[in-house]
Symmetry: C2
Subunit: 181 residues, 2 copies
């Protein structure tokens, strides 16, 4: 048994690296004294933004290389090293949608992939908007901005038109914001 | 430009492997003709279960090695090769909570980590329950079952007591089930 009777990390090493993330292998002693190896994904935290313009929101439809098809999502993006979440939101929202918002409200955060990572996602509501110009990266080419009734989002999830975990999570935070107590 | 003017995959190789997942490196030709390399996580799909017993649910509190602390979550687990989601739900729910349910309702699915993976998560509602015995794996040692008022879940998310993406996503599906239209 580990001395404290609790889980204890005894080693960590980088097991894999690519330009966007790394995998660490970490060894633990469990409460029963046995060893257990874990493999974690280390990636930058990210932000998700729900735009609210009256009864409407603006989502993005983008090609997702992971699933080899298009996906309808709220604007989202990585937080760069040293960047504050609110600045990542401003930057990503303008790049992906061309939208500049005057008012941002923090809705909350969650662990993005808790089984394998301590990566966090921060959810913001953006209001009081004006339109500037999209500044897409090469891999975002073809990303389209879609005007959607906010009251239709639930229906779109039920109809499997929205499938991305961060978009559904962000929508849950949005629903809770408007829920009493 | 690629011949079709669309994104086209030109190669794939396994770049990393551990006992629980692998990383593939895939190369694409973008619509503008340039090459783009992507790194994907390949992992088993999983299930999440919301237990409903009158006004209450039963959640699990477990040590999460990824964040080095405890987390309050709905029961969840991997779908084994060849296993149907509904069977994974029955198995995981009984193992983790000791609960056997007579009634399961499928609430929907989502992509668990769309930026890097085509992994799916399936959400179920479990009702009409009886209690058997927990059958925890070694790494799940110390996992506790918590009886929680379903009407308190929103509050627990707002108060940062619930942080796991799959639990918040599953709760969103639960809210939508009860939403009209």
């Amino acid at each position: 048994m580990s001395k404290t009777g609790k889980v204890k990390k005894i080693s960590e090493k980088t097991d894999y690296k690519c330009p966007y993330f790394k995998i660490t292998k970490e060894s633990f002693v469990l409460a029963n004294g046995k060893n257990s190896d874990w493999y974690f994904l280390k990636r930058k935290d990210y932000v998700v933004t729900i735009v609210k313009d009256g009864y409407y929101t603006y989502m993005v439809e983008l090609y997702r290389f992971s699933i080899k098809r298009k996906s309808l999502e709220f604007s989202a993006g990585m937080i760069e090293v040293g960047e504050k979440p609110i600045n990542a939101v401003r930057r990503e929202l303008e790049e992906e949608t061309g939208i500049i918002a005057k008012k941002f409200t923090y809705l909350g955060w969650y662990y993005a992939y808790i089984g394998m990572s301590n990566e966090k996602a921060h959810v913001f509501l953006a209001e009081d908007i004006i339109f500037a110009k999209q500044k897409l990266e090469e891999t975002e080419s073809g990303m389209k901005v879609k005007k959607i009734k906010i009251s239709d989002i639930g229906k779109l999830i039920k109809k499997e038109k929205i499938r991305a975990e961060h978009t559904i999570n962000a929508y849950c935070f949005y629903l809770l914001k408007n829920q009493k107590s």
